[in-house]
Amino acid sequence: MNAASPDVPRAAEPLVHREQPPADLLIRAAHVLDPRTGIDAPHDVLVRAGEIAALGAPGSLPAPDGAELIDGEGRHLFPGFVDPHVHLRVPGQEHKEDLDSGTRAAAAGGFVAVVAMPNTDPVVDDATVLRSLREAARREARIPVGFLAAVTRGLDGDALTEMAELADAGALGFTDDGRPVHRAAILRKALQYQRLCGRLLALHEEDPSLSGAGAMHEGEVSARLGLAGIPSISESTAIARDAAIAGYEQGRIHIQHLSARESVAAVAEAKARAVERSGDEREARGRITSEVSPHHLTLTHDAILARLDTRLKMNPPLRSEDDRRALVDGLRDGTIDCIATDHAPHAREEKEVPFEEAPMGTTGLETAFAAVFTDLVVPGVLPLALVVEKLSAGAALMGLGTPRIAVGEPAALCLIDLAAEWEVGEHGYESRAENCCFDGRSLRGRVLATAAAGAVVYRERAFALSAA
């Protein structure tokens, strides 16, 4: 069996965060939905010392002394979301985001754990940087944070990082996210090395010779605007190549942020080929996994034609309606394993420039659930339970425990009012950045409170006041 499997012992705890007092709560009569345990009905949920102590019929559980009473009636309680792909910009780019503001934004979006990318300044490419980053997260992070380290030093694509030492120091996996591992031979060596150090390889798929200086999806809108295009094949051909190398080396890869129909097909084909080679279908399908962002599931390049807004500029780019539909289908049929935000904060002055000059990226933590709920669940395109499941499915892919609403589990929950309508950005953001592609949109589904690692980490302002 390949050593990349999750049972490689971990030398360091996978997630770190600031210790906070454990919660004592009684959430009364909330509609509990946990797709993994099969609960889908109103319950009282009692949290004692940060752990789920009891589940009962609505109104059946008495509030113990000192426990905070939260009115859950008419609201939904989900297992907390886990985001395997965020940019917290520490170290070096704290003007965009920091560990406190980034994890505050995550908590406000219902997330109970996030995994940060290493394309920082300096790059997280040696154990010293990783250790000091984890130290900082122990002081500042409001929710548990895990870190991926770089595959290559300085993300330059030439030389492997000390992957084994980084794994021992707590790296959950490796990625050069923001850039592809362009040279096939380097990726192959990383996959060979994976047998020694375990952990997953998360891949940003892009052939730079095809994407070039592109600023948006290549298609009718880029033709109309005169912007250089990023063709779909710059992503799908890279996936096909890397899936072939990973198959040959029996490695474990995770494809980041799918954006194109061709890419979904490439992942589906790679999963099918892995199943052919192996007797164990479940294990084989898990050898190549993939993620999709809320913005790729809900927006298309047409939005850029309507509004040449740099908040709509990201890599991979928003593509066509046909691509968007393929991504939704891929999420539904399991080709795409999880939803990941690719939360990419930038400072106002960096985005307040002409479109071609602006850096790639949109924030996404605070709007992830509401955007997918409003555009895909409310119209009946995707079932609520599937979306809730996919919003935490990234945990298992990263080798982390999946939040569950069950007795004995640590409280990792979010309470959401599905009926509440709110305007994105109307009252600002918890993130330090305001480059949200959904800015100004009216969305349904408001996170009212989040508990992570047994502590209450977020209360929506009006909700907190009403409770007081």
């Binding site: 290549e218 298609g219 809108v221 109309r224 005169g226 912007l227 295009g229 420039v353 071609e356």
Partner: protein, 308 residues
């Protein structure tokens, strides 16, 4: 109309109104004193982030002929080279209270941003590869003067469509006035999805005889470095408009400056079919009409409207 950022800011009636007014201005250039007081006391700011001879000088001449005050800012030697952002430059220049800003930049959408950041009216004089609406208006003007109307005309735009803001604005303007547009060039220089602009796409000049108007685009030498075409020689062999390819009744246009011997052979530049000189002359009166359209009868910009 508050700004002219794209041809799509106009409809057919709006284009015709501007062209009619442009024609009424031709008489001014025939006078001994080539000036009318229509925009006396108004301030026009030319903000040019790219080298341009004819566009900038024709805007300047247009504004001065209408008695407006003109200030020129060019990127070389200005704050731009000291690292000032576009937003800061625009806000600084807005303190001079211009009534109208003419802007050329290498970036798509920059004119639209300036319109958001300044209370002045904004005319897009070219934003990257996106649009160059006054070029399209002067081309339409030239054709109308020559042929009366564009309805039913068959217009071929030939050459490097990918990098051409002129092609984009002209396709929109020509089709808005009832012409049929075909773009023709090497497949590497025609963007995927171009048909969405309402034109037909061809890769050879085989059907060129059907065109009433042949509009050649400038072929820039730097395109060779990125393998868009293998050589200028091969490009010229396939796409150059020369005496054999241009029919006696076809009209030849070019936005200038011409690469003699590349997209056009010398004999057609100097032929009676060519209206390249008329295009340049039309530039002044059409830009006068655009400035007039945006400024005449309008009070000074309302600063309250601006959202920083």
């Amino acid at each position: 109309m508050r700004h002219l950022l794209s041809i799509e800011d106009l409809d057919r009636a709006g284009i015709e109104r501007i062209l009619d007014r442009a024609r009424s201005f031709t008489e001014v250039s025939e006078r001994e004193v080539k000036k009318v007081p229509a925009l006396r006391g108004r301030r026009v700011l030319n903000l040019f982030y790219e080298a341009s001879t004819r566009t900038r000088s024709s805007f300047e001449l247009a504004a001065k002929t209408l008695s407006a005050e003109v200030i020129n800012f060019v990127s070389s030697g200005s704050a731009v080279e000291k690292g000032e952002s576009l937003k800061d430059t625009v806000q600084t220049l807005s303190a001079y209270r211009p009534d109208l800003i003419v802007v050329r930049t290498p970036h798509v959408g920059a004119a639209e941003l300036i319109a958001r950041w300044s209370p002045a009216a904004v005319v897009n004089a070219g934003d990257g590869k996106h649009e160059h609406p006054t070029q399209a208006l002067l081309d339409v003007y030239t054709l109308r003067e020559r042929l009366g109307a564009l309805d039913g005309l068959n217009i071929w735009i030939v050459g490097d469509v990918l990098h051409s803001r002129v092609a984009r604005s002209n396709i929109l303007a020509f089709t808005m006035l009832g012409a049929r547009v075909t773009v023709c060039g090497p497949p590497t220089l025609i963007p995927r999805g171009m048909e969405a602009l309402g034109c037909e796409v061809r890769y050879t000049l085989d059907g060129l005889a059907e065109a009433d108007v042949v509009y050649a685009l400038r072929m820039q030498k730097e395109r060779m470095t990125e393998s868009f075409v293998p050589s200028l020689r091969e490009y010229a062999q396939r796409y150059q408009i020369d005496g054999r390819r241009l029919g006696a009744r076809q009209i030849l246009m070019h936005p200038g400056p011409v690469n003699r011997g590349v997209e056009l052979a010398a004999e057609v530049i100097d032929s009676p079919q060519a209206v390249i000189g008329q295009q340049v002359a039309a530039g002044v009166v059409v830009r006068m009409a655009v400035l007039y359209e945006l400024l005449a009868g309008r009070t000074a910009p309302d600063r309250q409207l601006v959202t920083a």
